[in-house]
């Protein structure tokens, strides 16, 4: 099953692996040490991260080196920016409604009493 970027990173173990890879390329053993997760778990989650495009893998002699790829992070970023924009717009309306209430109240106060 293909996970979307949010589903991929919804798993705390995978987030810890991503954290471990932020410093650059790592082999599985280094990720195990840094993330404090059992090797079998790391291998399974690395496969999922790889399939989702978050992680690249390249051979280096006997070793396999894992690294982060930017694509899915950009996708998340773009999504969040859109979501933030929606909420910024909503709070713009909040501010405008607040201003209108204040103006209306001010106008009522200035009205001459009959």
């Amino acid at each position: 099953m293909q996970l979307n970027p949010f589903e991929t990173l919804a798993d705390p173990t995978r987030r810890r692996i991503v954290e471990a890879l932020r410093g650059g390329e790592r082999q599985v053993g280094e990720i195990v040490d840094q993330a404090g997760i059992h090797q079998s778990g790391v291998s399974r989650h690395l496969r999922i991260l790889h399939e989702s495009g978050f992680v690249s893998v390249r051979p280096d002699g006997q070793r396999r080196l894992y690294a982060l790829r930017p694509g899915p992070f950009r996708e998340i970023d773009a999504w969040l920016a859109g979501y933030r924009q929606l909420w910024e717009a909503r709070l713009d309306r909040f501010g405008a409604a607040l201003e209108k209430r204040r103006r209306d109240r001010g106008a009522r106060k200035k009205e001459p009493r009959k």
Binding site: N4, F6, E7, L9, A10, P12, R15, R16, E19, R22, F73, I76, W79, L80, G82, Y83, R84, Q85, L86, W87, E88, A89, R90, L91, D92, R93, F94, G95, A96, A97, L98, K100, R101, R102
Partner: protein, 171 residues
């Protein structure tokens, strides 16, 4: 958030959206916009939409029920594009209700076909600061990012047009 054992960096990227605004107003005025019928109707919802409140019970556990109605042509078109009705009944409750301090509206998202109903939580904190009031809104993610993404994209062009008309979002 009480659990800080995981660093912020390892938190889910979509975990929360935090928006903070400061207004030259009293906290009471901000609070009224969230907790009274006329206040809530005066601003809630995306641009191009209006709400008609059916029930707003200002207390812990109190109901928050309203119709969300697309009423601008662009918004109507956007809703049709993503296969949603132009008006839907929305209901939720105030999970927390601490007058002039903290409010937690929780909406029941039960109108998306093919998606199990889920709660969507918003936390609002109010702080008085001199002659101003600060409001911090924490929006938790929809559990169905795909739908939210579609919704965002649906509104995007509409927002852009409106922003252009009004000279960009104000503060």
């Amino acid at each position: 958030m009480t659990d800080t054992s995981m660093s912020a960096a390892t938190e889910t990227p979509q975990a929360v959206l935090v928006i903070e605004r400061t207004y030259r107003a009293r906290v009471q005025e901000l609070w009224d916009l969230w907790t009274t019928k006329s206040g809530f109707e005066s601003w809630w919802g995306p641009r191009g939409f209006r709400v008609e409140v059916r029930a707003l019970e200002a207390r812990v556990g109190g109901a928050l029920e309203y119709d969300m109605i697309a009423d601008a042509p662009d918004a109507i078109a956007a809703m049709k594009r993503i296969g949603q009705p132009v008006s839907h009944f929305t209901h939720g409750r105030f999970a927390e209700f601490e007058p002039l301090e903290r409010l937690t509206p929780v909406h029941m998202i039960d109108f998306i076909s093919g998606v199990e109903p889920y709660d969507h939580t918003i936390e609002v904190d109010f702080h008085a600061s001199g002659d101003s009031a600060r409001m911090v809104v924490t929006v938790h993610p929809h559990s169905d990012p795909h739908w939210t993404k579609m919704a965002v994209e649906g509104f995007q062009s509409q927002l852009t047009k409106l922003d252009a008309r009004f000279g960009g979002p104000g503060r």
